[in-house]
Symmetry: C2
Subunit: 188 residues, 2 copies
DNA sequence: AACTGTTTGTTGAAAATCCAACACGGTGTC
DNA sequence: GACACCGTGTTGGATTTTCAACAAACAGTT
């Protein structure tokens, strides 16, 4: 599954990714050139093309990596003495805080529009698996509702990021959870 | 004179140097192994040997680089409205401050004993060239005196570093200069 | 429309690095 | 002393990156 990477490959991809992230903090992906990324990363441009098709490809690989990593984190340790539904939300927020800069640039308006979509899907999948299992309703309806609810939650998170994460993850998790709960109460 | 370095060489040498400096901040050069440096720098050990003979060699290259760089700096721009003899000392201190961490580790006791010697020579050469030219005395005596004076000055700088550079470079330059002047007044 | 400058994607050969393996010397342990 | 362990320096072949060059697409200027 995961190819063996020798040191050089690892390094090359690392600095190219860092380079793109840096540039994404300044301008949207469409204004960024491959040449620019390579100069910043101090990597020969021809090397770039042995790893990625273009800078959009590189961006999607970055996003892929983050979502994979986040997914792993979400499925890891749980705080034992906390209500299950709050835990989930809290862990998501913690992960966001850990990768503050990354999320700030990738969720920024127009910087990388696809990232938000990925986050939606990941978060939704996770929630669908872990939310209290008492949904005896039609799958379709539940799915649509979760889209509705999670879209709202994600945008609250974006707001939170925009306000430089003033509230603690725990605090925010409680609040967002109330929103989500209220949304799901539609089913009852 | 200076060979052309392709990106890879530059990078390799850069991280190896950084690695050694990091380790030197923790223990003396004699306790450091080549293997250790390579692991920290994430560079294959065989590559190390294509650049340096051993870690002492690497250290000397580092020192060489610093002294060259410092020499260049010392011969650069002068503050126009300041007395010549103070300027010199001040520039030296400024350079030290710019490379604070480097000097702190390299001048640390037992970390790298040769560095001090290099600094002595460099500083002395610079002073001999720039000090007021009214020395109609025998070269030999002036040389010995300068050794005496500069050795004192360097150890004052070491003290200054050890005290985390509380005083400003300008302040220190004035003070050290007074010491030096007093030393040279021996000749009069 | 011709011109200028810039980015793109691709190529081939040179250069550098990686990796695994080796024999060797030192150091400490039983 | 025999033993295991670890760092050393070196080698050869595989892999990767670099560099310089190229034709092509594109944008902006006059």
């Amino acid at each position: 599954m995961s190819e063996k990477l020798d040191r050089r490959k690892k390094y090359t991809r690392k600095v190219l990714k860092e380079g793109l992230i840096t540039l994404l903090a300044q301008k949207p992906i469409s204004d960024i050139t491959v040449k620019e990324i390579c100069e910043l990363a101090d990597i020969n441009r021809s090397t770039f093309y042995t790893h990625y098709n273009d800078h959009y490809d590189l961006l999607s690989k970055i996003e892929e990596e983050i979502t994979e990593d986040m997914n792993e984190y979400l499925n890891s340790y749980n705080y034992p003495a906390e209500e299950e539904s709050i835990q989930m939300t809290r862990k998501i927020l913690e992960y966001v805080i850990e990768n503050k800069f990354m999320f700030q640039t990738l969720l920024k308006k127009d910087a990388a529009p696809t990232f938000e979509k990925r986050m939606m899907e990941l978060t939704r999948g996770f929630m669908m698996n872990n939310w209290r299992g008492d949904n005896h309703l039609g799958k379709a309806e539940v799915n649509y509702l979760s889209t509705f609810v999670i879209s709202g939650a994600i945008h609250v998170i974006k707001d939170w990021i925009a306000h430089d994460m003033d509230q603690s993850p725990k605090e925010m998790a409680l609040m967002i959870n109330n929103f989500i709960n209220y949304g799901f109460s539609y089913l009852e």
